[in-house]
């Protein structure tokens, strides 16, 4: 078989897995990532272990990132986006690389830029030490703080030019692994996500835990004593037209709640839910343990009001006894759902593949969830619909097997 070359669009867990599996099969890979870091959303997640591993999969992402960084035949293109694709038996993509980036060949990970410009937010640090470079430039902050970047790097690794550079890459097949968009909690305005500092999203919770090693309230830096998790924020919402379950939020909330409760047994945690979704084969036993440690109320709160000391008042209708209730918490976590990436539409046009009615990429065959209308294009991970980390890994493996079949020589 002639040496083959495959383009993987998106460097989250699905894209990284696809890249690595292809490389393991001696296929060279061009991995295109829009942001300055590989790892996607999942690399931000924290370990949910109590006295034992709860199989959240966060460490698998860490490992896959390390695998990909150490692999010879994977070309990594950070801060890069697809502008155009032409098809002629193979796929030629024009890649636009942002004019603002940190050159991985020059950067020594010294962290001087990050330390010096910490207050501006114009330099961001990766979530993993396996991110190379470990730092990136936050483009939204460029207008205000761009000048500060000019001489900050002793190695001259920071590039801030006016014009983007373009490169053409040719590939024999394409894997689309562009991931998801977290639900914007401001759309559910009655929760006051942007108004009340102690109303946070699940993703915010992960970031706080990563930075501090434990959970603290954004308003005063104190450890919360009474926390509410609200499930299905953005998912299973007829009014928003979001007719899908995000599949990961119940496992996420339950594991997170168990893990923080394990570290602080006095913590009082309530889960507000519609229907609890399973975590796997051993879910019944796990759920029993959760019921011992956490309070479950089958009701989704209507709105959130501010109370004293940054506390929050939840208003809800309790379905079990049919009465309206109010209850105060000192922190509220919104389990925000998995939404289709808004860029899917453009990419679907470029690649001549279709989207489903929800805006995720649609599989052509029911029995091959990675297949598309375009024979040489495959979908992997949450670009196709909500998936856990392990389901994304498996889906990416299937996409690779599809690519190998397409390129000939069976798998």
């Amino acid at each position: 078989m002639e040496p083959k070359n495959v383009m993987v669009i998106g460097g989250g867990i699905a894209g990284m897995t696809a890249a690595w599996e292809l490389a393991e099969s001696n296929i060279s890979v061009q991995l295109i990532e829009k942001s300055g870091f590989l790892g996607g959303h999942a690399i931000q997640y924290t370990c949910k272990a109590t006295s034992e591993c709860l199989n959240c999969g966060a460490c698998a992402v860490e490992k896959m990132l390390k695998n990909v960084m150490g692999k010879d035949n994977i070309g990594i293109h950070l801060s890069s986006q697809i502008e155009k694709i032409t098809q002629n038996g193979s796929y030629t993509a024009t890649i636009k690389k942002s004019p603002v980036f940190i050159d991985d060949k020059k950067c020594t990970n010294c962290g001087i830029c990050y330390e010096k410009l910490k207050d501006t937010g114009v330099i961001v640090r990766g979530h993993s030490k396996n991110n190379v470079p470990l730092y990136a430039i936050c483009e939204e902050k460029l207008a205000d703080h761009g000048d500060a970047l000019k001489d900050v790097c002793p190695e001259g690794a920071i590039s801030v030019s006016e014009t983007a550079s373009h490169t053409d890459l040719t590939a024999d097949a394409v894997i689309v692994a562009t991931g998801f968009e977290p639900f914007d909690p401001d759309i559910k305005a009655t929760y006051g996500y942007s108004i009340h500092p102690n109303v946070i999203s699940g993703l915010d919770l992960e970031r706080i835990k990563r930075q501090n090693g434990s959970l603290i309230r954004p308003s005063d830096g104190k450890a919360p004593k009474k926390i509410a998790f609200i499930q299905c924020v953005g998912s299973r919402d007829e009014r928003l037209g979001n007719l899908w379950c995000s599949q990961v939020c119940c496992p996420y909330a339950l594991r997170t709640a168990e893990s923080i409760k394990y570290k602080d047994p006095d913590l009082d945690i309530t889960i507000f839910y519609m229907d609890i979704q399973n975590t796997g084969n051993t879910f019944p036993a796990f759920y029993e343990s959760c019921k011992n440690n956490l309070r479950f109320i089958r009701s989704i709160p209507v709105d959130i009001f501010p109370a004293e000391n940054g506390n929050l008042l939840l208003r809800l209708f309790d379905e079990t006894d049919g009465t309206p209730k109010k209850e105060s918490f000192d922190m509220v976590v919104l389990s925000i759902g998995i939404m289709p990436n808004p860029e899917n539409r453009n990419l679907s046009t470029l690649l001549e593949i279709s989207l489903d009615e929800d805006g995720f990429f649609k599989n052509l065959h029911e029995l091959n969830q990675t297949s598309t209308l375009n024979n040489g294009v495959f979908i992997a991970g949450t670009a196709h619909g909500p998936k856990s980390i392990s389901a994304s890994i498996a889906h990416a493996g299937q996409a690779v097997s599809g690519v190998r079949k397409y390129l000939g020589g069976a798998i």
């Binding site: 997640y45 034992e52 030490k129 899908w244 229907d275 049919g322 909500p386 798998i411």
Partner: protein, 556 residues
């Protein structure tokens, strides 16, 4: 690193290229077909006779569009006509010995003992269904049906007509007898939607948690309601009275504060989807893990879902989890990739030094054989470790009472040198702390803590080990003898060890070491066992800083 990297000697080995697939449903057929397409011969060991799909249940293909159903028929034909696939009918696995690339497997097939050689083994059993009417206190009769019975009824045109002509009211009971799962829920939602569409018929669903965590189920749920199906979401089962053919279902509605009573014509009772009872003996014979629910393989984040604790033995589809056909197909495509990577064209080169047994020292006590979580060890007149099956964890090396086993780049000499080197390092009067760190978790976390500029103790030195199970009790004691003020053994969380039990062995050894320290009067605070994940940089920092504080307090 001061230890010299030796040039790794490689050896060429031959792998058998026949692959065994165990199971008879669509998953097993697809697995056999895919493997054969990659040029391997397949031995398909199935319980039933015949060549088609074993699983007669209608729901196996639920939700699969007609166009794809044709593919399943084509699959059955392909397996039947494929001269690369040998079918062993009416067969049961009796014995399996050997290592990846060289398994010897025995089946009882039609009363005969058949022996096969294989490079890899794939378990592709199906789940089974169990009736739950007894849990609801319901006797089975013409108007109390299991979900499968009702689904079969809906496939018959005559019986559909009868349901429709009688303006039937049908009640479904779901989620009170067990937790349930999305696949079961999909079957319920599909039947409900079907009924709701029939003029004059009404579907009432008494349900606990609606398990919609799979593609398309929330939409299916809404479709049913839009067509008129009525859902009562309750936390406990309603009260059901069965008096001959009369059925009444009552529950108290807290919102309108009164009892709601219904007399349905038919009650459909949920089923439970259970692991195949054959899994138990498969797990035992193949020496692979089984979870508490009877599915093959325990969740282990370090492995792909289709990999087991043993290299060369794979589990796919409903043998490992309640999965629909699409997800089973995902598994099988992954498995085929793994088989291809493992077996290749049958010629493989492997590192000679992965785990080396000193045949002079080995007394064939078989401690290594018993403790190896990967089934990588067998013996002639001495223990032999398969370089293909071995994962290099080193549990055996540390358990061997004769110190007869050495692991790749982690030999006792190399680690001893590292201990000496780290103990001799200058630490500017700060306590010397030696941390033995599993390369899969704590070592990564430690490196991340360094990269993120955590204020780590100046006297901290990490020693990388392939698995905490490689941390010999002698390493711990040596580190203290060589001058360490504190020793940490840092492993993966329970249930997260890549080698299953490496962290457990490490913990036992630390506990043994505590007893020894106590006997000689050394402060126990100088030794600690901790568990971490690779992404826990801040926890790593906290643990090592705490240890430094404790030691400093004692000394001052």
């Amino acid at each position: 690193m001061t230890t010299e990297q030796q040039a790794i000697e490689m050896e060429a080995i031959t792998m058998a290229t026949d692959i065994i697939v165990i199971g008879g449903g669509y998953s097993a057929l697809y697995a056999a077909s895919q493997i054969s397409k990659n040029g391997y011969n397949v031995i398909l060991a199935r319980q039933a006779d015949g060549q088609g799909n074993d699983q007669n249940d209608h729901f196996a293909t639920l939700g699969i569009p007609t166009s794809e159903l044709d593919k399943l028929t084509a699959l059955e034909n392909d397996v039947a006509d494929n001269d690369k696939i040998e079918i062993l009918p009416q067969s049961t696995l009796v014995d399996a010995a050997g290592i990846p690339g060289d398994f010897t497997v025995k089946f009882s097939s039609k009363g005969q003992l058949i022996e096969k050689k294989a490079g890899a083994i794939v378990a592709a059993t199906d789940f089974t269904t169990t009736r739950l009417n007894q849990i609801y206190g319901l006797k089975r009769c013409s108007n109390v049906l299991s979900l499968s019975e009702f689904e079969n009824l809906l496939t018959s045109d005559d019986q559909r007509k009868e349901i429709q002509n009688k303006n039937t009211t049908i009640a479904f009971l779901v989620g009170f007898a067990h937790e349930g799962n999305p696949l079961l829920m999909k079957r319920v939602l599909t039947s409900v939607s079907d009924i709701a569409e029939m003029d004059g018929c009404t579907a009432y669903v008494y349900v606990n948690d609606i398990k919609v965590a799979d593609d398309g189920l929330e939409r299916l749920y809404k479709q049913g309601r839009d067509k008129g199906a009525i859902y009562f979401k309750l936390s406990n089962s309603p009260i059901i009275n069965q008096n001959n053919d009369d059925l009444t279902i009552t529950y108290y509605d807290p919102v309108i504060r009164k009892d709601i009573e219904l007399s349905p014509d038919i009650v459909v009772v949920e089923e439970s989807l259970m692991a195949n009872p054959d899994n138990f003996s498969l797990a035992e014979i193949l020496k692979i893990d089984m979870d508490t629910a009877g599915f093959l393989q325990m969740e282990n984040i370090h492995r792909l879902p289709v990999d087991t604790n043993r290299e060369g033995i794979f589990v796919v589809g409903p043998s490992r989890e309640i999965l629909n056909l699409s997800r089973a197909w995902t598994d099988i495509d992954n498995m085929t990739l793994r088989v291809k990577q493992l077996i290749g064209d049958g010629n493989k080169t492997v590192a000679k030094n992965k785990a080396v047994v000193d045949r002079e020292k080995c007394t064939i006590c078989l401690t290594c054989y018993r403790c190896c979580p990967h089934g990588a060890i067998y013996w002639d007149d001495k223990a032999i470790i398969s370089p293909v099956a071995c994962q290099g964890c080193g549990i055996c090396a540390s358990e061997c009472p004769m110190d007869a086993i050495q692991i790749g780049d982690f030999t006792d000499t190399q680690i001893g040198a590292r201990i000496k080197e780290t103990a001799d390092a200058k630490t500017e009067d700060r306590p010397k702390i030696i941390a033995f760190c599993c390369q899969n978790s704590a070592f990564e976390a430690g490196q991340m803590a360094e990269a993120f500029n955590y204020d780590l103790p100046k006297g901290l030195q990490m020693i990388k080990v392939p698995c905490a199970g490689k941390v010999d009790i002698n390493y711990v004691l040596n580190a203290l003898v060589e001058g360490a003020d504190g020793v940490l053994v840092m492993a993966c969380h329970h249930g997260n060890c890549k080698s299953e039990s490496g962290n457990t062995y490490a913990k036992w050894r630390v506990n043994d070491a505590y007893r020894m320290l106590e006997e000689v009067g050394i402060d126990k605070n100088r030794l600690e066992f901790a568990t971490l994940a690779s992404n826990m940089a801040s926890d790593f920092a906290r643990i090592v800083i705490d240890m430094e504080k404790r030691i400093s307090q004692k000394e001052s």
